[in-house]
C-alpha cells in the first residue's frame, strides 16, 4: 500500500509540472535581477500588483492573453493529433491579412454582416495556410514541422507583397510633411468591421473602466474557441478520431479511422484558430495591417500549449499567465527606467518552456520506473 501512495504522488506531480517550471523560472529571474543589482522582491511585487492588482491591469493582461489563447489552441489542437504545428505565425499572417482586406474593401456592409464575414475570413485564411502542410503530411509523409516553418516565411513575404499592393494612400499630414510610410500598412478597416472594446460594455453596466484600455470582445471569441476546441476534441466523433490518430496512427487505421483525413482536418482546424488572432489584432486593436516581421505570437503559442498541457483550459490559464508576465514586464521596465529590460520576460518564458519539457520527461520516467517495480 505504501508504494501505491507514492505512485499517486508522482501522478499528481506529473499534473503540476507547469507550476514547478513557472516557480523555477521565477527563481532564475530573481537571480538575474539580483545580479543586475536590483531587488527581486520589489520587481516581482511591481510586476504582479500592476498586472492583476486593478481592473486596468487585468484588462491589459487579458488583451495580451487573447492572441496567445488562439495560438496556444493552434498548437494544442494539432498536438492532440500527434502533429507539431509551428506554423501558427504564418497561418496568423494569412488569416489576419485577409480579414483586414475584407474589412477595408467591403466598407458598405452593415456590422452584423461585416463582423462575422471578417471573422470567418480570418479563420478561413489560417485554415487554408495550414491545409498545405496537412495535405503534404497526409499524402507524402513529409514532416509537418519543416513545411510549417517554410510556410511561415512564405507567408511573411506574401503579406509583404500584398501590403505594398494595398498600401494606404498617404494622409494629408504625411503629404504636408513630405514623409512616406515607415512601416508599410493598409487603410483602416470600416467602422462596421470593428469589434467593440470591453470599455463600452462596462460603461453600459456602469462599471468604472478606463476608456483607453485595449481589451476587446475578441477575448470572448477566444474563450468561445477554447470551449469549441474542448467540445470538438472530447464530445464529437471527429475529436475522438483525431485523438485516436494522435495516440497511435496504426491502431487508429486498424480501427477504421482514416489517418490522412484526420491529419488534414486537425491541421485545418488548428490553422483556423491561428487565423482568428486577427480578431484581436486588427478588428479590436490596430484596425489596419502593418507589416512587421514576426510578432512571436505563433511561437509563443507553443510555449502556452506546453504550459497548458495541450488542454484548452490549461491553454487559457497559461495564456493569461503570459499576459501577466508580458504586461507586468513592460510596467517594470518603465518603473525601473529601463534598468530591468522587458526582454527579461522573454528569457523567463524560454526558461519556463525548457523546464516544463525537462520536468515532464523526468516525471514520466519516474512513473515508468515505478510501474516496472510494481
Amino acid at each position: 500500500m505504501k508504494i501505491n501512495k507514492k505512485f499517486d504522488y508522482f501522478v499528481i506531480l506529473e499534473k503540476i509540472t507547469p507550476l514547478i517550471a513557472v516557480i523555477f523560472a521565477l527563481l532564475v529571474g530573481a537571480i538575474v535581477i539580483m545580479l543586475i543589482g536590483e531587488d527581486p522582491v520589489f520587481v516581482y511585487k511591481t510586476l504582479f500588483s500592476n498586472a492583476i492588482g486593478n481592473r486596468d491591469g487585468w484588462g491589459n493582461v487579458l488583451f495580451r492573453a487573447t492572441p496567445l489563447i488562439f495560438t496556444g489552441l493552434t498548437v494544442a489542437f494539432a498536438f492532440r493529433c500527434g502533429l507539431f504545428n509551428i506554423g501558427g505565425e504564418g497561418q496568423m499572417y494569412i488569416g489576419t491579412f485577409l480579414a483586414t482586406w475584407v474589412g477595408f474593401t467591403f466598407t458598405n456592409l452593415p456590422a452584423f454582416i461585416l463582423i462575422p464575414l471578417c471573422i470567418l475570413t480570418a479563420a478561413a485564411g489560417g485554415a487554408l495556410w495550414a491545409a498545405v502542410p496537412g495535405i503534404l503530411k497526409a499524402k507524402t509523409g513529409v514532416h509537418e514541422v519543416i513545411v510549417t516553418i517554410m510556410m511561415n516565411w512564405i507567408a511573411a513575404s506574401l503579406t509583404f507583397f500584398l501590403v505594398l499592393k494595398f498600401k494606404a494612400p498617404p494622409t494629408e499630414a504625411m503629404i504636408e510633411a513630405g514623409v512616406k510610410q515607415m512601416i508599410p500598412h493598409t487603410s483602416e478597416i470600416a467602422q462596421a468591421a470593428r469589434l467593440p472594446r470591453l470599455y463600452s460594455i462596462f460603461k453600459f453596466l456602469n462599471i468604472d473602466f478606463p476608456a483607453y484600455n485595449q481589451v476587446n470582445v475578441s477575448f470572448f471569441i477566444a474563450i468561445g474557441v477554447a470551449i469549441l476546441a474542448y467540445y470538438i476534441l472530447w464530445k464529437t466523433n471527429l475529436g475522438y478520431e483525431i485523438r485516436a490518430v494522435g495516440y497511435s496512427p496504426l491502431a487508429a487505421e486498424y480501427g477504421g479511422i482514416s489517418v490522412a483525413k484526420n491529419i488534414i482536418l486537425a491541421m485545418v482546424i488548428s490553422g483556423a484558430f491561428a487565423g482568428l488572432v486577427g480578431t484581436n489584432e486588427i478588428m479590436g486593436f490596430k484596425y489596419r495591417w502593418r507589416q512587421e516581421l514576426f510578432t512571436g505570437l505563433g511561437f509563443n503559442g507553443i510555449a502556452v500549449a506546453l504550459l497548458g498541457k495541450n488542454h484548452p483550459l490549461g491553454v487559457v490559464l497559461a495564456a493569461i499567465l503570459f499576459g501577466i508576465l508580458n504586461y507586468g514586464g513592460a510596467i517594470v521596465n518603465i518603473y525601473t527606467a529601463g534598468r530591468i529590460p522587458r526582454e527579461l520576460i522573454m528569457v523567463l518564458q524560454a526558461v519556463i518552456v525548457i523546464f516544463v519539457v525537462i520536468s515532464d520527461e523526468v516525471v514520466k520516467r519516474l512513473i515508468r520506473q515505478r510501474r516496472k517495480i510494481l
Partner: protein, 314 residues
Amino acid sequence: MFGDIFNAQFVASSIRVAIPLALAGLGGVFSERSGVINIGLEGMILSGAFAAVAVTNFTQNPWAGVLGAILVGILLGLIHAITCITFKANQIVSGVAINLFSSGITVFFSWLLFGETQIMVKSNLPIWGLPLPDIGEGSTFVRNIIVMFAHHSPLVYLTIVIFILAHLIIYKTPFGLRLRSVGEYPQAADTMGVNIIKMRYIAVMTSGALAGLAGSFLSLEQAHFFVKEMSGGRGFIALAAMIFGKWTPLGTAGAALLFGFGEALAMRLQGVLAIPVQFIHMVPYLLAIFVLVSAIGRATPMAAVGIPYEKEIG
C-alpha cells in the same frame, strides 16, 4: 543592364550572403546526421552575432569576437544537447525555446551593456587576399577574378576550409561513419560500441559552434553592427539549404550559394524587374518544400532524426 547586374561584384556579394547560410546549414547537417533536429540555429546565429559585436567592442579585437561567438554557439548547443539528449525532451520545443531565449537575451544585454539595441562594430577584421588593382590598371579579367575569389574577409576562406574538412570528416573518417550510423540506426551503432550520447553531444555542440560563427560573420562582416532580431530567418533558410543539399556538406554549400545568389539578385533587382522581390525571397522555402515532396530526387531525412535514444526497448 545585364552586365550591370551580373558582374564580379555580384558574384562576390553572392558569396558573402551565402556564408552565414552555408555555415549554419552545415551546423544543421552535423546535428541532424547524428539524429538531433536543430530548429535553434536561428537563435544561435542571433546570439553569435551579438556576442561577436559585444566581445569585439570590449576587447577591440574582432578575432576575439569571432571566438566569443563560437563559444556562445557551443554553449547554446550544450543547452540543446542537455535538454534533448540527456533529458530526452522534445527537440523541436527545445529549439523553439533557444530561439525565444536568444531573442530575449540579446536585446536584454544590448540594453544593459550598451544602452541601445543597435550597436556599431568598433573594430573590423582585415581583408585577406591579393591587393585590388585600380580600375583600368592591368587586365579587367584578373581584377574580376580577384574581386570574386581573392579579396575577402578571412572568414570566407575559413568557411571554405571548414566545408572541405566537414566533407572529409563525414565521409572519410571512422568518426564520420559513426556519426552517420548514429542518426540512421542508433541501436546498431550502439551494438558496435559507438557511444551514442557522446556522438550526439559532439554533433550538436559543433552545430552550435558553426551557427555562432555564422552569426559573427553576419554582424562583423556583413552588417558591421548588431541590431535586434538581425538573424532575420537565416537559421531557417539554413535549414532549407540543408534539406535542399540533402544533408551533405557540399550539397548544403551549393544550396547556400544558390540562395545567396537569389538574395543578392533580389537586392539588385529591387524596382528593376517586374517580379516583386518578395517572390524571390520565397524561393528557398518553396524549393525546400519541393524537394521534400517531389517524386524524383526526393530528399529523405535520417531515419532516427528527432527520436531520443533509448538503450532498452520496451
